[in-house]
């Protein structure tokens, strides 16, 4: 999923300062799962905003709405019937959702309420960790199912570097060395011979370096 974290309250209050009536829009997908911008978080932020503005002596009207999926124009359309009443839309979706709404309602400021973080998975309750860098050319089959791009601090293809200590990365004892994990898993799979092959330099065109990416499926076009 795409993970996100709510922006600091001070920053949020500053960003809505010019407005008197806003629509706070959540998303029922990834940000709901990572507890950053679902219905519950929308309600909590709405209350905090109302209180914050009362304290400032400039009350703010905040209406709440959570869409099924903000990054889908079909759902973003649902805002059309109410949007004219507001000075601004405050989105609690990831950057994809914010932009979909902004593109649909060009005359209205759309403000991000969360910082979109990474594509990750839940490690345990309340902990999410990066798992995929979206590089466009998956190598997990060569690396024991552990991604060296997303999980090695130096995205080394032929690791580990000299900084790997007791299974941890040189940057922090809280970060696992991806190459230790890869090696352990390759051993478990009986695939250690994969390690001795030199992995070729990455063609980063399939990643962000090739420019903004699109997927076009002719077979899906209507």
């Amino acid at each position: 999923m795409i993970t996100a974290e709510r922006k600091p309250m001070e920053e949020i209050l500053r960003s809505v300062e010019p407005y008197g009536k806003i629509l706070l829009v959540g998303c029922n997908e990834c940000v709901t799962v990572c507890h950053a911008g679902g219905r519950k978080e929308v309600a909590m932020l709405a209350s905090a905003l109302r209180m914050g503005r009362l304290k400032q002596g400039a009350p703010l009207t905040v209406d709440e709405l959570t869409l099924e999926r903000q990054c889908d124009p079909e759902y973003a359309d649902e805002l059309a019937r109410v949007i004219d009443q507001y000075d601004a839309v405050c989105s609690m979706a990831c950057g994809c959702g914010v932009q979909t709404v902004a593109e649909r309602y060009r005359g209205l400021p759309v403000l991000p309420m969360v910082n979109t973080a990474f594509m990750g998975a839940s490690e345990k309750n309340g902990v999410w960790a990066e798992r995929c860098a979206g590089c466009g050319n998956c190598v997990l089959g060569m690396t024991g199912g552990i991604c060296p791009i997303a999980r090695c601090s130096k995205r080394i293809f032929n690791g580990p570097c000299g900084g790997s200590t007791k299974g941890k990365c040189e940057i922090s004892p809280d970060v696992d060395c991806a190459w230790q994990l890869i090696w352990d898993r390759l051993k478990q799979l009986g695939q250690t011979e994969l390690y001795s092959q030199i992995m070729a330099p990455k063609d980063w065109r399939s990643a962000r370096d090739g420019g903004p990416r699109r997927i076009v499926r002719e077979d899906m076009a209507i």
Partner: protein, 307 residues
């Protein structure tokens, strides 16, 4: 010969090679380089010039390498993958080669979080093993990484670093093997304090036939004080300083700790000379360049061969 590198010549002639190290200044201070370098002249066969070591900005390693070259020394131009993509790397290599730099060392580089610009983008377009392949292919095939032909290929003697003490230990020699397969002509290791573990590493490297395909220079660093010994033992990632080594330095009164460090170093060099497969040492006297002549003399490393 693959290059005009003095280090290559010394190694090819079968001498026990000695390389030193010089950290560029944090400023445009030419005199500081010359002062440091003057202590190393005639003491070593090549001088590593570090590239923004510990991710702290310093004068460019190619520029300092040229200063050494002008002083009649052989620079070992270090280049890390952290700060440059493949375009920048290859253009710098061409420039360095054109201006007489013959030896280079391919490295990953410390993570930016350790340095003075933790905000910086962390490039890693290619890794150090792919970098070795790239430099070797530029020289041997006369081709850029993108495939185009090079008019006058850079004739670099290509080195790589190896840390025999990182984890997992069983991968260390395998990864060394990958560096050799990638084309590393020589290897300089991380500082060695755990001789037993290093001897085991060398035994594995010999068994795999790696020492016949590359020249391994064992890294050594004199411990200047008990404080430094403890720091190396506890704070430097991937460093193995056994407790008895720390104790040996710490048991001395403060004013005698540096002397004990040099004694220990000389004993280590003696052991390394006898160790099968070790082709030389890489002496990293960190901010202690002025003591290198004394160390080289006492360790019996002088005079350096003229080849």
């Amino acid at each position: 010969m693959k290059s005009d590198s003095n280090l290559e010549k010394v190694l090819a002639a079968g001498h026990f090679a000695v390389t030193g190290e010089l950290g560029p200044p944090r400023g445009a201070n030419l005199q500081a380089i010359k002062d440091k370098a003057s202590h190393l002249k005639g003491m070593v066969d090549a001088v590593n010039v570090t590239d923004n070591q510990t991710a702290v900005v310093r004068m460019a390693s190619w520029a300092v390498s040229l200063v050494l070259k002008e002083m009649g020394m052989e620079p070992n131009y270090q280049m890390v993958c952290r700060d440059r993509n493949r375009l920048a790397m290859q253009s710098d290599i061409l420039g360095a080669a054109a201006l007489g730099i013959n030896t280079m060392l391919c490295l990953s580089g410390d993570h930016p979080s350790f340095g003075d610009h933790p905000q910086a983008a962390n490039v890693h377009d290619i890794d150090s093993i792919q970098q070795i392949q790239m430099v070797a292919a530029m020289r041997d095939e006369g081709r850029f990484m993108g495939g185009a032909e090079i008019d006058t290929p850079p004739r670099m003697f290509v080195g790589a670093a190896a840390n025999p003490f990182g984890d997992p230990f069983e991968l260390r020699v395998l990864r060394l093997g990958k560096k050799v397969a990638a084309g590393a002509d020589f290897i300089q290791t991380q500082c060695i304090y755990n001789m037993e573990r290093f001897a085991e590493y060398m035994r594995q490297a010999n068994d795999m036939g790696l020492t016949e395909r590359t020249k391994i220079l064992a890294g050594v660093t004199p411990l200047k004080s008990a404080g430094m010994a403890r720091y190396m033992a506890n704070k430097v990632p991937g460093m193995d300083v056994p407790p008895e080594v720390v104790k040996r330095i710490a048991d001395q009164p403060k004013e005698k700790q540096a002397e004990e460090g040099i004694k220990l170093l000389c004993e280590q060099i003696e052991q390394l000379r006898e160790m099968p497969g070790v082709a030389g040492i890489h002496l990293m006297a960190i901010e202690w360049e002025h003591r290198v002549p004394e160390i080289a003399e006492r360790a019996g490393l002088l005079p350096r061969p003229q080849v």
